[in-house]
Chain length 447, copies 2
């Protein structure tokens, strides 16, 4: 009997919970600057044998942002800290290709991959918040498709930098005095449209070759980049058919770039409100809804639709808006939902308050497990990005009650079998470009 | 009886040791990518009650660089990791104001300060390696004094960003639903010569207000910046009188900027080769000298003098060279030494192989302690930046044999009395600029 295809699970750690009112629930702790809480969440995710944990990011703020996002620890340094208090779980964070330098970011991520023994992942974003530009001496957030062109070149540079050294460069032979094999160090000499980076990177090749590359492209340009380079794709779906079409499209694009469809894992987000009974779960959702701050909820919706909403009538149908230049996946999913269910702006605002547009699942552990299995088996998902509405309780419930059901059904691992994030995901370690070539032009000659 | 003035000690962790041949010594481990070793070194420094540990940095490499520098973990992520495996010691790293963005760096450092409960320090450098420019899409490394002008503005922006939130901003009142006090969040609206940064930073004010600011200015522009903002100053001295004059000059400059001379701690580097007898220590130095790679030694000297040296005769006197545009402190100290002792280039190269220009101390633990006490009591130093020639053995020797002597003499703490790096150094926590003012124009009005 062969092992059934395995589901992948990621824990999306938004410190105060995904629901904007999650932090107000009894027993809930906040938030995104609470290292002690985040350490406990990471350990819970590892106890649940999750493939990875994930930290979102933005490089701007305002006081009425989502309480999980307004003030936060910086994700790369946080990831490095979490590497010290976990053993096996993958560790992924968002970092922007618009507001960082490839040489710096390749170092941060490579360093985390080294320190975690191959558990690092990078969510490549071009920046979903246009306000960021003003924090970086820029006149404007670059336009959508240009951001993706920058991102594509950035990733190419980062990969080249991670390939600066071939494996085994450090010889450290005390007897001969040879510290390293200079023939295994290579300059990059990249000169492209947006970046000029000579290299080499001052770091050995990361244990995973490259950190696992994650992307959440929803626009054509975004999907194209995802098809080209993403190994995990985050998505925002409410509808199984739409999710299935999205997954097929992404895998088709990957195949078009000469990749295996198995090496691009589609992971839609889900926000699970779990109760001992369905009624209990629904009561929790109602309680959360009553606790939500309407002003913050409207701001979160505005970010996801990419437009200021303060001038619109809350009790009229959701208005027609031009396509979003930022979180297009969220915008399309939410707009489709509003049209299908004929929602007012107020109603859509309340949906976003709960799950930010992601699939909201309300029910018993069995019902949640059924809902995951359905999408997984229909080819709408290779796994799920689990977005607990609050911490730690709602996540404990998922790990203690939903995960065991998935395990019993043979859909999810009982324990880790490998050590790296690539192992967990069944992804190969990318070979060094020179692995099969005769060496020419190394730093040995010029150094 | 009042407590005598206390010496401060920093551990300069160059992973393969300060001596370029340190890694070849029996029992030595290398190097700068060896997290397990670095964790042990950090714990040893904490056992020795050091004020802080320090990680240097550069954003470029070449195969014939110093073996501690050629390949390395990235210091900010490494610092975050070390925060998890230490309890009390200060944690400082180098980060460049030329090749990072203030918004990003303020987040990394602020996050480390939060996660370590107030133990972060930042060595502010403008970049001692001109080759870095080619890794950052730049045509050239900005000229020396312009780099300092950028640095001064960068630090001003960083401080402003750390002040984005007043203390106590997070109210997290579940009953009322008030997550934060929006009146305590402030935009920066900085628009200067080099940076335009609106803010606010998406982080509460760090536990220390600002991380401890470290600088190693040796040029006039460098000393000026140090006098203005540095709380620790690293220095390179061989001569007690020169060191004393340097210390007086820096403290005078600080006073000129309205600061207390006690709030700028001068910490010259020392490289101690310790033996049970003086002869044993000297034998170790000789052994190290024989193991040193002459090509790497010449490259390290070239970096410190700021000029390529490959064309010069090794057996002629050290040539006259124009002033260095980069590591001027090292260059001046080394040139003075060469002139005073009439050294050939080969001889100076061998000095640099050992200590990179820093004070080399060779002898028994008592002799080392005497040498430290002498400089400390003469006002040539407030403490020392301890640069072990190799790891872990040479550092264990310092902690196990030199520190206890300093403690017995009442010159150095028996145990930590505070919890933050500012506590260890006797530095006040900078007050928030609005601490004593009536609030006007907060984000509450505009948000
Ligand atoms: C699960 C998920 C997480 C995301 N996390 C971030 C993030 O942390 N920071 C960010 O700027 N954008 C984030 N995004 C937004 C994406 O970067 C992107 O803007 C969005 O998916 C729209 O894609 P498009 O630009 O191709 O239209 C996330 C999207 C999803 C679905
Ligand atoms: C102990 C010490 C550590 C230093 N660490 C670094 C470093 O990590 N990275 C760097 O680029 N420069 C480093 N420097 C060099 C200084 O940033 C600076 O270039 C040098 O002190 C000369 O100062 P000047 O530019 O004012 O002439 C260090 C200097 C000293 C004395």
């Amino acid at each position: 009997m062969s092992m059934p295809r395995q589901m992948h699970l990621g824990a999306f750690i938004l410190g105060a919970g995904h629901h904007i009112a999650g932090w107000r629930m009894p027993g809930a702790e906040a938030g995104s600057e609470n290292l002690d809480l985040i350490k406990r969440i990471a350990r819970t995710a590892e106890r649940g044998k999750f493939d990875l944990l994930f930290l979102a990011d933005a490089v701007n703020t305002r006081p009425d942002m989502h309480p999980s996002m307004v003030l936060r620890l910086e994700p790369l340094t946080l990831l490095a800290a979490l590497a010290m208090v976990t053993e096996r779980i993958g560790l992924a964070a968002t970092a922007s290709t618009t507001y960082t330098e490839p040489y710096n970011l390749a170092r941060y991520l490579g360093s985390i991959d080294h320190m975690s023994n191959g558990r690092c992942g990078w969510n490549i974003v071009t920046g979903a918040f246009a306000d960021a530009a003003a924090n970086f001496s820029r006149d404007r957030h670059p336009p959508h498709d240009e951001r993706y062109a920058i991102a594509a070149e950035f990733v190419e540079v980062a990969k080249g930098l991670w390939d600066s050294c071939e494996d085994g460069i450090l010889t450290m032979d005390k007897a001969s005095g040879q510290f390293l094999d200079a023939g295994k160090m290579h300059a990059l000499n990249h000169a492209g449209t947006y970046f000029k980076v000579k290299g080499p990177l001052n770091m050995s090749r990361p244990p995973q070759g490259y950190p696992v590359l994650i992307q959440a492209g929803a626009s054509d340009a975004g999907r194209d980049l995802a098809g080209r380079i993403a190994e995990i794709v985050y998505a925002v779906h409410q509808d199984i058919e739409v999710a299935r079409a999205f997954s097929s499209d992404l895998k088709r694009r990957a195949v078009g770039f000469g990749r295996s469809p198995d090496h691009i894992k589609i992971m839609p987000g889900i926000c699970a409100i779990i109760g001992g009974t369905e009624a209990e779960a629904k009561a929790k959702l109602a309680e959360l809804g009553e606790c939500a701050d309407p002003k913050v909820a409207l701001q979160v919706l505005a970010e996801r639709l990419g437009h200021d909403l303060t001038a619109f009538d809350l009790d009229a149908p959701v208005p027609d808006l031009p396509p979003s230049g930022v979180m297009r996946g969220h915008a399309e999913t939410l707009t489709a939902l509003a049209r299908k269910e004929n929602l007012t702006l107020r109603q859509l605002r309340n949906v976003v308050a709960a799950s930010m547009g992601h699939r909201l699942m309300v029910g018993t552990p069995e019902q949640i497990a059924d809902g995951l299995q359905e999408w997984f088996e229909a080819g709408a998902a290779d796994g799920f990005n689990v977005m607990p509405p609050w911490f730690p309780g709602a996540f404990d419930d998922f790990v203690d009650h939903v995960v065991p059901i998935l395990q019993k059904r043979g859909l999810f691992r009982q324990d880790y079998t490998g050590t790296t994030l690539r192992d967990h995901l069944g992804l190969p370690r990318p070979e060094h470009p020179l692995a099969h070539r005769v060496l020419v032009g190394s730093m040995a000659a010029s150094g």
